[in-house]
Assembly symmetry: C2
Homo-oligomer: 454 residues x 2
């Protein structure tokens, strides 16, 4: 028995009391959001009609390195944080690797993922601004679930536009949201102008995330006392998610371990950005060096095969433009893609760090991802979310390389959530009917050609 326990828990008073804003240490700042009409950088006031004011300020703050976490948010964090940093003894033994594997497990809360870290912050600032409620969109429902928990806690109204096909075919997260008091509307709905127009133009459509975003933004801006909130991509979200990385670093420091490699899955970039931020901060300040790997699906490879250009954040083109690695805002992974991480672009912060070669990226096929997920579930006892399993795949690959070379690397990865609501995908894998999808260069080029010329 090693001295390092299976689960490294921080004490409650070691939960971070400040978020870390990695932009303050970045020499090349992430590019600003841009108004698609004027081509000019958005100022806070430009964003106020859509987003909460304090969140707009956080969005644009590239200077303040540490931002106080309000006490009310700290109190909520105590209900499910600190999350454990787990030493994967059983996985190491199974792989027979000299590597030491650690994972930060963010799935031990009812939202089943790290999304709650930002949801509670966004709900808090909305409440503090005196708003009645917020609106958002959700696909499979992970973000919507987290936000419904946060809004229930602060007594805030929540309207969720849920892509119709998910609303009908994946009713379970919908019911979790309803249990937390959210109003869940299948999108496209008849409640908004854009929803009615889409329903008229495409009768019987089952919806898309882009359409749901457009409806949520319209609902926020057309009702007194409402704003729109978003669960990934934005700088503010990565700021809130820095609690993941701060706790991870504190736990490693506590047991005297220096990470060699940090691995995270990357869809919009919120989990990855949160996990790596304090480590990247050290790199930016010249204090330490790490190998950082962003893992994305081969079916939606924004970092590894996209372009670093200004693009719309949403398919509906109602949001500001962001400079990011993107596949084009019209890019949609093939329907056989079950592994999550379907966003066409990547957080501007992550994009800039990647462009500056502070982090690397790798894409993996979903059958390989589910193979890793199954192995992990059996030996570590946690059924992982498909998204998280992208990081597991690469962690296992790297641990097996260590087996060849004999290196005792310290590998840290983010286990962002659990797969309890993803069992249709697991069934496909168990049945052997899961297929891989890799877009052709032509498909990507065609989609990228639609990006605005800025």
């Amino acid at each position: 028995m090693s001295e390092i326990p299976y689960k490294i828990y921080l004490a409650e008073n070691e939960i971070p009391s400040k978020w870390y804003n990695v932009r303050a240490d970045m020499k090349n700042k992430p590019a600003p959001l841009v108004n698609p009409g004027t081509g000019e950088a958005m100022k806070a006031e430009d964003l106020f009609p859509v987003f909460c004011e304090e969140l707009c300020r956080q969005e644009l703050d590239n200077e303040t390195p540490y931002i106080d976490i309000p006490q009310e948010i700290q109190d909520f964090y105590k209900m499910y944080r600190p999350s454990p940093l787990v030493r994967a003894y059983c996985l190491e033994k199974f792989l027979d690797t000299p590597a030491h594997i650690y994972y930060k497990f963010e799935g031990n809360n009812t939202s089943g993922s790290h999304k709650l870290n930002s949801a509670i912050a966004q709900a808090y600032y909305a409440k503090k601004q005196g708003l009645k409620g917020v609106t958002t969109e959700t696909g499979a429902g992970q973000w919507g679930t987290a936000l419904s928990m946060a809004c229930a806690y602060f007594g805030l109204d929540l309207q969720v536009f849920m892509v119709k096909v998910s609303y009908e075919q994946k009713p379970f997260r919908r019911e979790v949201m309803r249990t937390y008091g959210a109003k869940v509307t299948p999108s496209p709905s008849m409640d908004t102008n854009i929803g009615r127009a889409i329903n008229e133009q495409f009768p019987g459509t089952t919806g898309s995330l882009g359409c749901a975003i457009s409806e949520a933004v319209e609902a926020a801006t057309s009702q007194e006392g409402y704003r729109y909130v978003l669960g990934s991509v934005l700088n503010q979200v990565l700021l809130h998610q820095s609690v993941i990385g701060l706790e991870t670093k504190a736990a490693l420091d506590k047991v005297g371990v220096k990470a060699d490699m940090i691995i995270g899955c990357a869809g919009g970039g919120s989990n990855l950005g949160g996990l790596i931020s304090p480590f990247v901060g050290q790199m930016l300040r010249g204090e330490a060096d790490y190998e950082i790997i962003a893992v994305e699906p081969a079916s939606c490879p924004s970092l590894t095969r996209g372009s670093y250009v200004y693009d719309f954040c949403d398919t509906g083109k109602v949001c500001p433009l962001a400079k990011m690695y993107t596949l084009g805002s019209g890019y949609i992974p093939a329907p056989n893609h079950a592994g999550g991480l379907r966003y066409h672009g990547m957080s501007p912060i992550i994009s800039q760090l990647y462009d500056d070669k502070l982090i690397t990226a790798r894409s993996v096929k979903q059958t390989d991802v589910f193979e890793a997920a199954e192995t992990f579930a059996r030996v570590e006892g946690i059924l992982p979310a498909p998204e998280s399993s992208h990081a597991i795949r690469v962690a296992i690959d790297e641990a097996l390389k260590c087996k060849e070379t004999g290196e005792e690397k310290n590998i840290v990865f983010g286990l962002t959530g659990t797969g309890y609501f993803d069992l249709v995908a697991y069934q496909q894998y168990n049945d052997g009917t899961m297929e891989d999808y890799v877009p052709t260069d032509e498909e990507i080029a065609k989609s990228l050609a639609q990006c605005p010329k800025i």
Copy 2:
């Protein structure tokens, strides 16, 4: 901010290294299992053909107060234990009660419940005996999931007979079991004599738990190197589940809190028996006093409305007889009962403690249970299993009584698991279509009349 943290965690080396066997301190021992043919008490050898040998010894051991937990099981416990004892600050605030509420949360593992505590023990002893595998039955799949995780860990084959209607209508837990490598067969199947007979006699039947037990026992006894395992009711299961109570007591001692009241839901009795055992031990030794409340559904009220007689443990009448509070082995709650805890009888240990008035019991209606569940989810952030929510209901009721009287009682309850796979029931509650069911005295009398005369 009080000195007591939101989550009281023990250190890894404070996980119990011995189980506590409350029978050793009981003056009136639980009645022995009896052979239905001869009417004689079962000896260990009589049980060997069906159960693992070491487990048979544990089943019959009424004398040894502490039994060592083998190191391999302790290592597995480290993957998800110690489980937190949570101070329900948010619930207290919401109820505006002077009571202090604590809950022991056993849901932070992929099985979603406390069942894993005994599953890993039973799988270990099966492996140690050199068996190839084990068989079991499962209804909704909680026990089957826990056992599939345990068998995957020890490389043991697992055959689960899953009630056909659940197999078809609740496919998610089925897929979790398959992901862990279990063979899941809808029951009645064509794989056993009894399954074929039932399929022939009742074409198109959707199965029952009683039939699934019979198939699992037949499969265990007709294959070389297999035994049957069971997840509740038995003395051995309550022994393994004592880790819940031992950790709870250690955590309370750590923060200097003496419980006044301990509340647990009761189906077969495994969670309740585990939670209360060290506290009941103190009562039996005259060291302390507690008010202990077993909470059962009004639709399946074995303690509050059943009789304390010898009865079959299974509807199929293939298992030995146990003396217990029972509604009769043919008793099945109405189909509108969605809240779990459907077993017709109660663990012999719990039954004896109840008969000796060391514990009390209360029955609650399921709409009241789901109201408590929803409140709890919204303020404490955890979506509870319907089963666990029976305990939440009574904990809230008692905390509200304290509000009237001004008493600062320390209320401890067991939160046995999460409700992620119970969202059909939550949907019924959200839609307002959930109904209550309370059996008539005539129904219960008719069912009890079928008990064997011993």
